[in-house]
Amino acid sequence: MNATVRVSVVALFCLAAAACAKKQEVKPAPPPEATTPTAPATTEGAFTPADLQTNACLRTRVIYFDFDKSEIQSQFQNIVACHAKYLRDRPMARMTIEGNTDERGTREYNLGLGERRGNALASALEAAGASASQIKVVSYGEERPVCREHNESCWHQNRRDNIVYTAE
């Protein structure tokens, strides 16, 4: 990325920040996958495996984190809620949460940070009624980036938990 592009990207962020500063806290623009579905997580009936393919909330299998943080951001609470409901509705369902980090810092520390992010989601799911026996956490640290550039937009996409159903 050359200097001109970098300056204009910074300028864009500044504009975006200024535009939403009045509303609430300023956050970096989430990548497309992070777009939170607005579908209600509290479906009336019980979820079935088919809903994993059709329900917009259940189809969202990734949540993102701030740098060096493992708190679940409020924008992802409904994703936590629908996956927790699925696990409640389907006691035989099993999930692996893959915790990931960006490339900054050391690989072994990032293994710890990825696990902390995985555990944060597992705890939130359990608090919402899922059983601990349904959830396994694996940390990949910085070893499985989805984006390999050295900039914040890329790092943001890599700081994530991936939800993988191993039994539906």
């Binding site: 690989r107 072994e108 293994l111 696990e115 940390s139």
Partner: protein, 437 residues
């Protein structure tokens, strides 16, 4: 600065020669980044031919010269400026070398008969016209280049007064391809990057290789089973054993100085903690009890303490704890982020990854100098510092564009050499111990 360019040309020429003779050898290219004007001037004269055998397949004088340059303490005269070619002390015209401002000169001959390379050499002090060292080294088979490293080690020891560490090996991880096509390899090579030998391959990440004190085994972390697991593998035989695949993280192995224990970071009890595993019995001793991330343990050379990374104060910092258990003390206070300590042979110098903002560099803290710190790498994403066994140099990993590369750097940070694998990403360097001849 004509020096670095000339050196680079020499290095490229020697690489070309190497590839010409060693078909299929996969190599690391070499580049001196900074020169040091105060380095000791020394001339390594190309060796004369001895006996009626074929010419040596390796240029021993070139290997010696590159080693001496790389450590930052010497500056060798470029081949193009070596105007005379004495092969014995009696043939040295000292006035010539005094005029060229050389402090030392190395002369000798090589023979290559029946697959055995034999080198007779002498080291002379130019001003005093005095012989300091005379020796014969012999190597055969795949070890021919070791003749050069051994001579460089002997010269280094004679002049600097410390055992040389050129005749040593390094381990590192390479990655080619992306996603499902990713191919990882754990590789062992000579300290200058030549003679790479793949120890293990995997489609999943490999990390944190570390040497046993006798140089025969590597411990490392592999994700081949879907989660991190720690293996110990014999380099020569390839035999390996799984030492930990508990639920959660199995990471950051480091052998104790006697090789009988392994310090590790495990999270099977709910959170990453430092443990010491007895390799004979497999018994674990838990050292830390804290909700923080505790990882990257490393032994002090006296085996009394373990230095590790913990974010118990908010951000990662280095702490020291008695190896038998006790209360950890924080030991780093400069920089926002300090992690992945490399402890040198006498425990005085701690290399670490120091992060400030988005810039991560290798810092060296001298505990004998009141914790004074210097940076030895420029950033921005440098990690994995690893000392040579004599602490004259460090290896570390850096990111340049899309790829990871390795650097060796002199302990004062003034001479850097890049080792770049021609294809893919190189990371996780670990410098091995002294080799037995």
């Amino acid at each position: 600065m004509r020096m670095p360019k000339t050196l680079l040309a020499l290095v490229l020429a020697s690489l070309a020669a190497l590839f010409a003779t060693q078909a299929g050898a996969q190599g690391l290219t070499v580049q001196i980044v900074n020169g040091v004007p105060s380095a000791i001037p020394i001339t390594v004269v190309p060796l004369g031919q001895q006996g009626s055998g074929p010419a040596s397949p390796v240029d021993v004088a070139q290997i010696v010269s590159m080693d001496l340059n790389r450590c930052g303490k010497f500056r060798t005269l470029p081949t193009s400026e070596i105007v005379q070619s004495p092969t014995t002390g009696a043939q040295i015209k000292f006035a010539t070398w005094q005029q060229l401002k050389q402090q030392y000169i190395v002369v000798g001959t090589a023979s290559y008969e029946g697959g055995v390379l034999k080198v007779d050499y002498q080291l002379w002090d130019v001003a005093k016209q005095q012989m300091l060292l005379q020796n014969t080294v012999a190597r055969q088979g795949s070890d021919l280049r070791r003749a050069g490293h051994e001579i460089a080690d002997q010269i280094y020891q004679k002049i600097i007064g410390v055992r040389g560490a050129f005749d040593t090996r390094i381990a590192y991880v390479t990655m080619v391809g992306l996603g499902d096509n990713a191919q990882y390899a754990l590789v062992v090579a000579d300290s200058d990057g030549y003679n790479p030998q793949t120890v293990v391959r995997s489609h999943e990440a490999l990390l944190s290789p570390t040497w046993s004190p006798d140089g025969k085994e590597l411990a490392y972390v592999s994700f081949e089973g879907g989660n991190s697991a720690i293996y110990i593998q014999n380099i020569a035989t390839g035999a390996r054993r799984l030492v930990s695949s508990r639920p959660g993280i199995n990471g950051a192995p480091r052998f104790s100085p006697d090789g009988k224990k392994l310090a590790v970071s495990l999270s099977f009890q709910g959170n990453s903690e430092i443990y010491v595993m007895d390799l004979g019995s497999g018994a674990l001793t838990r050292l830390t009890h804290n909700l923080a991330i505790d990882t990257e343990p490393s032994w002090t050379p006296d085996a009394q303490n373990i230095i590790f990374t913990s974010d118990r104060s908010g951000k990662p910092q280095l702490y020291e704890i008695p190896a038998g258990g006790g209360s950890p003390q924080r030991i780093t206070f400069q920089g926002q982020y300090n992690a992945d300590v490399g402890v040198d042979y006498d425990g005085k110098k701690l290399a670490m990854v120091q992060g400030n903002g988005n810039v991560y560099r290798i810092a060296v803290m001298d505990r004998s100098m009141g914790g004074q710190e210097i940076f030895v790498s420029p950033g921005n994403l440098d990690d994995s510092p690893s000392w040579a066994p004599n602490a004259s140099m460090l290896l570390y990993a850096a990111t340049e564009g899309p790829r990871g590369v390795l650097y060796s750097v002199s302990a004062d940070g003034r001479v850097r050499q890049r080792l770049v694998l021609s294809d893919g990403d190189v990371r996780e360097p670990a410098w091995g111990p002294y080799r037995n001849p």
